[in-house]
Amino acid sequence: MDQFKAKFREEAGDLLAALEKALLKLEQDFSDTKVIEEVFRVMHTLKGNSAMFELHFTENLTHHLETIFDNIREGKQQLSPEILDISLASIDHLRYLLDDETLEAPKGRAKHEELLTRVVALSLDSSAPVSANDAAVDQRGGLAKTFFITFKPKPDLLKNGSNPLYIIEDLHALGQCKAIPYAKNIPGLPAIDPAVCYISWGILLSTVSGVSEIHDVFLFVEDDAIIEIDLLGEGDFFAKSAFDVAVEKMKAAAEPLGLKQVKQLFEVQQKKEEKENAKAKEQQISSIRVSSDKLDKLMNLVSEMVTTQARLSLFVDQNHNAELLSISEEVENITRRLRDNTFSICLIPIEHLFVRFERLVRDLSRELKKDIQFVMEGGETELDKSIIESLTDPILHILRNCIDHGIEPEAKRIATDKPAKGKILLSAYYTGAYVNIKIEDDGAGIDPEKIKAKAIAKRLIPEDAALGKAEIFDLLFVPGFSTASKVTEISGRGVGMDVVKRKIAELRGDIFVDSEIGKGTAMTIQLPLTLSVIDGFLVKVANTHYVIPIGVIDRCYEIKRSELENSLHETVTLDGQRIPFIDLKNRLGHAETPGDAGNKALEYEHVITVYYNDKKIGLVVDTIIGEYQAVLKPLGKMYKDQDTMSGATILGDGTIALVMDTAKTANKFLSENNLKTV
C-alpha cells in the first residue's frame, strides 16, 4: 500500500502543479472554458484519488472546490478573483496535506478549517443561474440541435411596425443564440432612410425546439423578409471549441454566408480539432514515468560503457585485426547512439522550472503592491534535469531582486514615462554548447557608480580602481555586497548574489549582468548543456592530453611556428582574419616540462579556432588526435580554485585528459592588447 501511496503523492504533486498553471492562466482570461474544464477535471481526479486512499481532509477540500468549478463550468456561477485566490491558497494547503495527511499539526488543522469554511461559503454562493434557458439546454443537451438561420428583412419591414431586434431576442429565448449582423447594404448617410431596414442577419441557434417553433418566432414577418431555417447538425455546436473560430470567420465575411459555407467552416475546424485530440491521446500513451534514480543509474552505466569503449578502440588501434576493427567501430557507433538517447531522456523542458516562478511573481508582486506582467519565453528549451533542480534557488533569488529592487513603484514609473505595469521577461535559448537563461526587467536599472562607491566604502576595491562596466557589475557577486540600502524581508540581506554565482559556478555555468539606468537590468545565466558526457576534440599539448568541447570549435589550421613567434600582440592571420591566439604550451605551464625539448623543434603548429562570446580565438596545440567522447569527471574540491578546466576524463589507456573550458581559459589568458585587435 505504501508504494501506491508514494505513487499517489508523486502524481498529486504533478496534478497540483498542473492545477496551479491552469489557474494562473485562468487569471489572464476568465472566459477560457477549456481551462475551466481542465481545472474541474484535475480537481475531480484529485478528489477521486484521495478518496481511494482515505485521505479525508484532501478529499473534503477538493470536493468543495470541484463543486465550485462544476458550477462555473455549467454557467451557474461566475468566476471571480476571489475564487481564484482561494483556489491557489488551497493548492498550497493541499501540498501541505500531502505531507501531513492526518493534520496532526494544530496549525495545519486551523488553516484547513479556515479554508474549508471559505470554500464551502463560496460553493454555496452559487447565485441564481446565469440564464434559466442555458441551464435547460444543458440539461437536455443530448436533444439539442443547432440551426443556421438566414434572416434578410425586406426594406419595408420596419414600416409594418415589426422590430427585427425583438425577433432576435425571441430567438435567444429558445436556447443559445448568436446573431451576426451584416450591414454592408447600409447606404451613405445622406441617402439613408430611417424607415428602411438595410441590415440582414446570419443566426446560429442551438435549441431543443423544433423547426416549427422557430418558424413561429418569424410568424409576423414572414412576408416582409427572406427567412431560411436550416439544420446545421445534431448537438449543441456552441459547446464545440470550433464554434468561436467559425463565428469569427462568419463575422469577417462581408456577405451573409450560405448554409453550405457555414457547414464547411465547422467541419474544417472540427477536423483540425480531432487531429489535435488524437495527437494528445497518442502522447499520453507514449510516455511513462520512471524514477530519477533509475535514470541516474542508467546514465552512470552509459558513462562506464563509453570509457570502456575507448579502451577497446585503443586496443584495436594497437592490434591490427580487420574483423575486430569492424566490430569495434560498430560498438563505438552504438555506444554513441545509446549515449545520445540516454542523455536526451534526462533532458526535461525548462517549462517545469518556469511554472513555479509564475506563482512566485504573482504572489510577490501582490505583496509589494507592484503590478507586474511576467512573460516567459522558450519554455521548451531542454536542460539536464539535475541542472534544472539546482537552478531553482538562484533564479528565485534574481526574480525577487527584480521585483523588490528592479521594478519601481507605480507612481515613480508613471513619473518617468514608463508603462505603469512593470515587465519581467524570463527567457531560455540555446547558443552553441550552452543554454542561456535570461531574466530581464524594465525597472530602474543598476547605477555602476553607486556600486563602485559602495564597493570602495566596503573596502572591496581600492579607491583608485579603474574598472570597466562589466567589472563593476561583477562586484555584485562579491561576498558581502548588497546594494539595497534598506533591508527588506524579500531580498537584500547581503547574502545573495555571491551564493547565486557560486551555485551557478558549481554547474559549470556563468552569470552576466547588463544594466542601463532607468531602462532595466538583464541577468544572463549561461549553462553547459550537459554535466556528464560531452563530444570533444582530443589534443595534445606537451605531454598532456586536453579535450576541447566540439560545440565551441570553429575549425583547425596548421601554421608555421615562426609565424606565431613573430606575431604582434599574439594575433595570427587566418583566412584573412586577424585572430588572437593563446599558446597553450606556454600559458598552461608546459614550457619547462622535462622531456619536452624535442617539441620545440616542431616546425608546424596546430591552431584550433574556437568561439568566444561572439568572436573567434585560436588555441595553439601540438597535436590534434581526433574526436573523442569524454565522460566528464569532476576534478574535485582540491581543485576548486582553478577554473580553466571544467573536469577530467579517462582515456582508453587509463591516463587522464583534462577537459578545457575555453571561455574561461580565454578570459584568463587573453590580454587586453590582443582583444582590441579583434
Binding site: 598552461l588 576534478l635 582540491m638 580554485d641 578546466m645 587509463g654 591516463t655 587522464i656 584568463k668
Partner: protein, 165 residues
C-alpha cells in the same frame, strides 16, 4: 591520545626526505604505484596533478612540496597513499606522494609524547605527537589538518626559509 587508558592503534609509517612520519590507518584507503600524473594548470605547485583511480579522478598532492621540502626524482619506492580526509566541506579522497612506505606499526598511546615546543622544525599544529622508535623519532601527523590548509607552512617559519604560496 587524550585518553588516560592505554590503547593501541595501527599507524602507517612513511618516509619523506630523511624523516619518518606516521598516520592513522583508518585514514588510508590504499597504496598505489606511481603512474603518469596529469598536471592541472592554474593550480598550486604542491598539487601534483590527477591520476585515474579505477575510473575516478584522484587528485595527487606532492607531500614534499606541501611540507616545504625540496622535490626529488621518483624512485621505485615512490608511491601514492590514498587518503580519506575530512574537511569543513565534507570528505575528500586524495593521494599523497611519499618517498617510500615503511610499515604498519602498532603504537600504544603511552608511547606517544607531546611534540617538543622548542627546537622542532615542524609546526606543532599539524603534529599529534612523537614516538621514539629504533631508527629515531616518528611524527604522528594530524592528516586532516595537513591536507586541508592551503599553505605550505608545515615547516616552522623560524626553522628554515620556505617559499610562501
Amino acid at each position: 591520545m587524550e585518553n588516560s587508558t592505554i590503547s593501541t592503534s595501527s599507524y602507517l609509517t612513511f618516509k619523506l626526505d630523511q624523516e619518518s612520519f606516521a598516520l592513522h590507518v583508518s585514514k588510508v584507503l590504499e597504496i598505489l604505484e606511481v603512474t603518469q600524473i596529469t598536471k592541472v594548470p592554474q593550480s598550486p605547485d604542491y598539487m601534483r596533478g590527477v591520476v585515474n583511480l579505477r575510473g575516478n579522478v584522484l587528485p595527487v598532492i606532492d607531500t614534499r612540496a606541501k611540507f616545504g621540502l625540496s622535490s626529488a626524482e621518483f624512485t621505485v619506492d615512490t608511491c601514492i597513499v590514498v587518503l580519506d580526509i575530512t574537511s569543513n566541506e565534507g570528505a575528500v579522497t586524495l593521494g599523497a606522494l611519499v618517498d617510500s612506505v615503511q610499515e604498519v606499526a602498532e603504537i600504544s598511546n603511552d608511547q606517544v609524547q607531546p611534540p617538543p615546543k622548542i627546537g622542532n622544525k615542524y609546526n606543532a599544529e599539524f603534529i599529534n605527537g612523537m614516538v621514539k622508535r629504533e631508527e629515531g623519532f616518528t611524527m604522528l601527523l594530524d592528516i586532516d589538518k595537513v591536507f586541508t590548509t592551503d599553505e605550505i607552512t608545515f615547516l616552522r617559519e623560524s626553522g628554515e626559509t620556505l617559499p610562501t604560496d
